[in-house]
């Protein structure tokens, strides 16, 4: 005769509170899921805005260049600058001869290494470099004023 299979049960005290807790957790998880989709939407909007911002800043840069070229005192500044650079270039050449002697073998780079370095520079880095150059040229202009 086959042995009768016996089922065992565990008594769970406070089943309602447990159920309430599980439902509460489920509700919170669903809320988090909703929040996740809202965040995705926010990020999408942010990306679009950043693209727009980049476009606007580029346009502003172009406008500022245009403004700079239209300014009447541009010729005066360049003439002054030429005068100044002529006198300072003589001083600089004498200084650079002195400093070049101080360079150690570690600091010196071969042209091949330079080419490799420039290849490594990403597009963003190039942009930053360009903008840095632009800033320095603007600063030069400001100093010459």
């Amino acid at each position: 005769m086959a042995e009768k299979k016996q089922d065992y049960y565990v008594n769970i005290s406070n089943p309602n509170t447990l159920l309430k807790g599980i439902l509460q957790s489920s509700k919170l998880v669903v809320e988090s899921s909703q929040s996740y989709y809202r965040s995705l939407e926010i990020r999408r909007e942010k990306t679009l805005l950043f693209k727009q911002l980049r476009k606007e800043v580029t346009e502003l840069l172009q406008l500022s260049k245009k403004l700079d070229s239209t300014l009447p005192y541009r010729e005066l500044i360049t003439a002054e600058k030429r005068k100044f650079s002529k006198s300072s270039s003589q001083m600089k050449t004498s200084k650079s001869v002195k400093t070049s002697k101080k360079l150690t073998s570690k600091e010196k780079t071969t042209p091949k290494q330079d080419v490799e370095k420039t290849k490594v520079l990403s597009k963003e880095e190039n942009e930053i470099l360009k903008l840095t150059n632009l800033i320095s040229s603007i600063e030069e202009k400001l100093n010459s004023l």
Partner: protein
């Protein structure tokens, strides 16, 4: 000594127009930045909501765990 500079009226008008364009552009950029900032705040709010919800879920699960496995007295 600074020398006076005279500008043709046509050029001056052009300059003013360009200045206006620059001002408009700056205003537009400022507006976009404000929008981005507001979005960033919203994102922050969502993140803090996530954090709160996770803490609450953790609390609930802990309670369920304790209730399920507490020994019968």
């Amino acid at each position: 000594m600074e020398t006076p500079v005279f500008v043709k009226i046509g050029d001056y008008k052009k300059l003013l127009d360009e200045m206006d364009a620059v001002k408009t552009k700056i205003a537009s950029i400022k507006k976009i930045i404000m929008q981005i900032e507001s979005l960033r705040d919203k994102e922050k709010e969502e993140l803090s909501l996530w954090s709160n919800n996770i803490n609450l879920v953790e609390k609930e699960i802990k309670y369920i765990d304790e209730t399920l496995f507490e020994p019968e007295k």
